[in-house]
Every structure is written in structure tokens, then in C-alpha cells.
Amino acid sequence: MSYVDAGYAVALGALFVYAVGLVLRRRRWERALRVSEVPVAETESAPGPGERL
């Protein structure tokens, strides 16, 4: 493999891997947000600070 081929492979490969990693991170955080929203909805009926039972 020549230096030129290696340069193109490294640059494009690294950007591709980083881009895929970002998309997977976004998907994971979207899932985490959906999961974390459920308990809030469930506990909405519970009394908040300062409220009496």
C-alpha cells in the first residue's frame, strides 16, 4: 500500500468510524431519554415538594 492510499484510507476510514459512532451515541441517548421520561410521567401524580398528601 502506498503512502497516498494509506492517507486516503486513514482519513476516510476514521471519519466513517467517528460518524457511525456519533449516530449510535445519538440513538443510545434518544433511548435513554425515552426510558427516563417514563418514571416522570408515572410519578406526576405523586405529591411534589411543599404539597400535602
Binding site: 502506498s2 503512502y3 497516498v4 494509506a6 492517507g7 486516503y8 486513514v10 482519513a11 476516510l12 476514521a14 471519519l15 467517528y18 460518524a19 456519533l22 449516530v23 451515541r25 445519538r26 441517548w29 434518544e30 435513554a32 431519554l33 427516563s36 421520561e37 418514571p39 416522570v40 410519578t43 405523586a46 405529591p47 411534589g48 415538594p49 411543599g50 400535602r52 398528601l53
Partner: protein, 265 residues
């Protein structure tokens, strides 16, 4: 308490930018590897210059503009918003990837051209310093703190990082370096590259710039989602804590009524 986190949806314009970036990148690779002729002096090695200067341009100028601009706008009281903080943080992380690629592609060009993988040349050293500073910024961002404190701290750090950018840019003029001066333009704005080589380089600049915008957009979405999940978890923790307290008060009194001064956080 920090401002509520507006969670972004998927953006169509960002998808368009991504597709255009991939197409432009494909054209750059096709022109750079198969269409353009070998250089008179450098031969085929000159083909690396269709990607190295565009990557370096993103790493230095586009990242510098977004990181410094976002940080300044966050620090300025009238424009203070976590939008600018998140944008600057996203730019620095994407910038670290481009800085690393600048060093790697430059090294792959330097080995056959200069005979060494690395030399403590002013341009190379200041670029390596930029990468280290960007990694330091990312470490600083992970230090637990109130969102406003973290944002202010990171904005100052980003501004300190961007001081290195003019040093990288002017290093070839200020010091005697192995690295050549301007690749495309000389100080008198005369073009060094012509014809199909110039077109290839131009499309390369466009391709890497579009890819940068897409990466920045997706990284920004990740940043917003992280903050939103953090807010939700805090809210859940507070609610659970409140429920525990009220249950304890109920058990302690036996009448189900909270006693004055007990339970409320």
C-alpha cells in the same frame, strides 16, 4: 436551576448536508486518485494534498470560528444561552478528530517527502499542541459541576485553545520551518495550483466542510440529549427522594399526615 433542554428532532437539512458531503467526498477521491495527473515535482505523492489541506482547514478555521464564536456568545451576558455552550463543545470534539487526521495525513506525506514521520517543526508542534488542548477541553467538560459553571469554565478553556490557531497559521512565517508556506495561496494571494488540480482541491475543501457541518450537527444533538437525560434523571431522583421522605413521615406518625418540618426537602 438551568434552562429547560429543548430536545431537537431529526433535521432534514442536516441529512441533506450529509448526503452532499458524501457525494462531494466521492468526487474528491475519484478526481484525486484517478483523474488528476501526477505532479511534476512530487509525482503521485501530491494526491495527498487534495485531502490534507482541507482537513487542516476544518481543524483550524471552521472549528476555531465555531468554538471561539460559541464561547464568546455564551460568555456575553446578552447572548448567553446553553445553545452556544453546546455548539462550542461539539465543535471542539469534532475538531479533535480533524486535528488528529491533520497530523496523521501530514505525517504520511512527510515520511516520503521529508524522510521523517515527525519533526519538532513549529507548524507540526503547534498543531499537536492544538490536539492536546482539545483533549484537555473534553476532559474538563467531564468534570462534574453545575451546568452554568461547567459552561463558563469550558467557554474560557475554548477561548484559550483558539489562541493556538493563529500560532499554527503564522508558524510558517514566524519561524524557519520544514513545513512549506501556503499550499494554495501565497501571501500575495497568487494561486499555486491550477486547472483540474485546483478543482479537485476546491471540491475537497467543500467535501470536508460539509462533512464537518454534518458531524457538528449530529454531535450537537448528542450533547442536547445528554443534558436532557441528565435533567430527567435529576427530576426523577428528586421525586423519588420526596416520595421516600413522605413515606417515612407517614410511617413515623402512623396517621398518614406529614408532620411540620419533616419530609419536605
Amino acid at each position: 436551576m438551568s434552562e429547560p433542554v429543548p430536545v431537537p428532532g431529526r433535521s432534514r437539512w442536516l441529512d441533506v448536508v450529509g448526503v452532499l458531503g458524501v457525494v462531494a467526498m466521492g468526487v474528491t477521491v475519484w478526481l484525486g486518485l484517478w483523474v488528476t495527473p501526477p505532479d511534476v515535482v512530487q509525482g503521485n505523492l501530491a494526491r495527498l494534498l487534495y485531502i490534507h489541506p482541507p482537513i487542516a482547514t476544518v481543524a483550524l478555521y471552521w472549528v476555531g470560528i465555531v468554538a471561539a464564536g460559541g464561547s464568546l456568545l455564551y460568555l456575553w451576558p446578552r447572548t448567553r444561552s446553553f445553545f452556544w455552550d453546546r455548539l462550542a463543545a461539539s465543535a471542539v470534539e469534532v475538531g479533535a478528530v480533524f486535528s488528529a487526521l491533520t497530523l496523521v495525513t501530514g505525517s504520511l506525506w512527510g515520511r516520503p517527502a521529508w524522510g521523517v514521520w515527525w519533526t519538532w517543526d513549529a507548524r507540526l508542534t503547534s498543531t499537536a499542541l492544538l490536539l492536546l488542548l482539545e483533549i484537555g477541553y473534553m476532559a474538563l467538560r467531564r468534570v462534574p459541576a453545575e451546568p452554568a459553571i461547567r459552561a463558563r469554565r469550558c467557554a474560557v478553556a475554548a477561548l484559550l485553545i483558539t489562541i493556538d490557531i493563529p500560532i499554527v497559521h503564522f508558524s510558517v512565517d514566524w519561524w524557519q520551518t520544514l513545513h512549506q508556506g501556503g499550499t494554495v495561496l501565497d501571501p500575495g494571494f497568487d494561486l499555486h495550483v491550477h486547472g483540474i488540480m485546483l478543482w479537485t482541491l476546491g471540491i475537497g475543501f467543500l467535501a470536508f466542510s460539509l462533512i464537518f457541518v454534518w458531524l457538528l450537527g449530529v454531535r450537537y444533538q448528542v450533547e442536547v440529549l445528554q443534558d436532557a437525560v441528565g435533567d430527567q434523571e435529576l427530576e426523577v431522583s428528586l421525586t423519588e427522594r420526596w416520595n421516600e421522605d413522605t413515606e417515612l413521615v407517614g410511617v413515623g406518625s402512623g396517621d398518614g399526615e406529614p408532620h411540620p418540618g419533616g419530609g419536605a426537602p
